[in-house]
């Protein structure tokens, strides 16, 4: 059974929306979704939709209706940079767009429906793309906030259903769970929380507030949330907030993914979890695998604090003997990437095998450990950033060479000329939607190069970090 069919006890609570105060039982949510899907007669064929998301009930209804109707849908941030939205609209020509009312679109789109908070836009029939969409394609997700990059991950109905089932199984989710949203729904980890809990028939507590906001915790307490999901940055906040001092008697489970959490913090939260009888799951995944690939069983975390654990149910991890790269096999591996509408016709190109780009080793108990990366990626505030891509993007804004190095705490931009320091920093903030506290600009007399004349990244990193 697919989670988007919402076949649970119809009286059970499905959603509680903090912003509007609305609540939906599974029966009410199913009725709303069917009503929403009625605007698309099946005779019109498969369409591509964009949803500009907030953690509110309307985007969830639009998402589930799209899955029920068999459309392909891309989930995007409601605060997407206008330039990036423009690129995506040009490259993909979506047939419909569901967005908050304050977002306006050009004359290629006409308002089809307006509700209190959201507008449904349809592409003018004269402008519609004739290019077909592969029957298995269900969801398109972005892997980073890069301006100008229209690259999206193609996920099938089977991908998202299989991953929701695996996650619900290893987390032992039941209809009594009440997760509260800490992550945006267009982010694969945030979406996996929604999918897996709908699979389990649980109750989603939807809020846009961050964990540093008092209203977040008021909402948490009023509706007795049972679990929190966090990327490493959120765990840094939890540490500083002293999560253990917040009065949260309903809290049972903490999950962590979205990049490697410092071993010191894993130990800290492992200790707290023991004292508070919380279940603390350290997990690993990528959008290319829908969301999740591995997890550490919470009762096995002792001595495995720096491990990514073992493969999720239905999946298998192995290490390529020649390269040391971690390889994942499973039904949640994406169909492939897309860069434009034409790519949406493509069938599954990966056949269930994902080269993760991470280097790994395995211990005698079968647990996996990430030891490095094949390519130059860092994860800043949970956002995966390709350093080579940042370099290229920044070099398009200044007339000098830019070198980027970094780790999961900061991005360091290296220049030879101080006069462009502010300019590149500002460009990095705007183009990649990064916070200034994660970016450092360093000026050096000369960029270190290898004898072959290429930038010597290990030496540069040693020098500036």
């Amino acid at each position: 059974m697919s989670f988007w069919l919402l076949q649970h006890d119809q009286g059970r609570p499905a959603l509680i929306d903090e912003t509007s105060g609305n609540r939906f039982s599974y029966g009410e949510l199913a009725a709303c979704v069917q009503q929403f899907a009625r605007q698309w007669p099946s005779s019109e064929g498969k369409k591509l939709g964009f949803i500009l998301c907030r953690n509110e009930w309307e985007p969830i209804v639009a998402y589930l209706a799209s899955l029920q109707a068999g459309h392909a849908v891309s989930l995007l941030s409601d605060s997407i940079h206008p330039d990036l939205l423009q690129v995506l609209l040009e490259q993909y020509k979506p047939d419909w767009i569901f967005a908050p009312n304050e977002i306006g679109l050009d004359a290629t789109y006409e308002r089809a429906n307006l509700s209190e908070r959201y507008t449904m836009w349809n592409r003018l029939s004269s402008e519609q793309s004739k290019t077909g969409i592969h029957e298995q394609l269900a969801v398109l997700l972005s892997t980073s906030g890069t301006t100008g990059s229209p690259k999206l991950v193609r996920l099938s109905h089977r991908n998202i259903q299989a991953n929701a089932e695996s996650i619900a199984q290893y987390l032992g989710l039941t209809p009594l769970e009440r997760p509260i949203t800490t992550l945006p729904m267009q982010y694969s980890y945030g979406l996996s929380v929604i999918n897996s809990h709908l699979q389990a028939g649980a109750t989603l507590l939807l809020t846009n507030h961050s964990v540093t906001n008092k209203q977040f915790w008021d909402f948490f307490r009023a509706h007795e949330a049972t679990s929190l999901a966090g990327v490493p940055f959120i765990y840094q906040l939890f540490e500083r907030l002293r999560l253990q001092n917040l009065d949260l008697p309903s809290l049972r489970t903490l999950t962590q993914a979205g990049g490697r959490l410092d071993t010191r913090l894993v130990k800290h939260f492992h200790q707290l979890a023991r004292e508070k009888q919380w279940r603390f799951f350290v997990m690993y995944g990528q959008t290319e695998a829908t969301a999740r690939m591995s997890y550490v069983p919470y009762e096995q975390l002792d001595g495995k604090e720096d491990s990514i654990g073992m493969a999720i149910p239905q999946g298998k991890l192995s290490i390529d003997e020649a390269t040391g790269e971690l390889i994942y096999h499973g039904p949640n591996v994406m169909m492939g990437y897309a860069n434009n509408r034409d790519d949406l016709q493509k069938a599954d190109e990966l056949h269930g095998v994902l080269h993760t780009g991470d280097l790994a080793k395995q211990d005698a108990d079968g647990y996996f450990y990430i030891t490095g990366r094949l390519k130059r990626f860092i994860k800043l505030f949970g956002l995966r950033i390709n350093l080579d891509e940042v370099e290229r993007a920044l070099e398009s804004t200044v007339p000098v060479q830019v070198v980027c190095v970094g780790n999961d705490q900061k991005l360091v931009i290296v220049l030879e000329d101080e006069q462009y320091s502010q300019q590149v920093k500002q460009a990095a903030i705007e183009m990649f939607q990064l916070h200034a506290s994660g970016i450092q600009v360093q000026v050096v007399p000369s960029i270190i190069r290898t004898p072959a004349g290429k930038v010597d990244y290990p030496k540069m990193a040693e020098r500036v970090m």
Binding site: S210, N213, A436
Partner: protein, 77 residues
């Protein structure tokens, strides 16, 4: 003292000091999001040699509120 606090805000959030006024609020500018908040709290703790309580970290939602909360820790602003 208010000047010192204003400078800490400006540096931690990476905004001009003139923007740091009493009704500057959490989430009212892109720079003061949850990431900025963590940087700000860390900067305040360090500058005044304190460790604010959980509820205060959550309540510190404007420049005005920061002055009130810091007063509780014996910081005159």
């Amino acid at each position: 003292m208010e000047e010192k606090l204003r400078n800490i805000f400006a540096t931690a959030l990476d905004i001009p000091a003139e923007k740091v006024v009493d009704d500057l609020e959490f989430n009212s500018i892109p720079e003061w999001d949850s990431i900025g908040h963590l940087a700000l709290i860390a900067a305040l703790d360090e500058a005044f040699g304190i460790m604010m309580e959980t509820e205060d970290v959550i309540d510190l939602s404007s420049f005005k509120k920061a002055k009130e909360i810091l007063a509780k820790y014996g910081v005159e602003a």
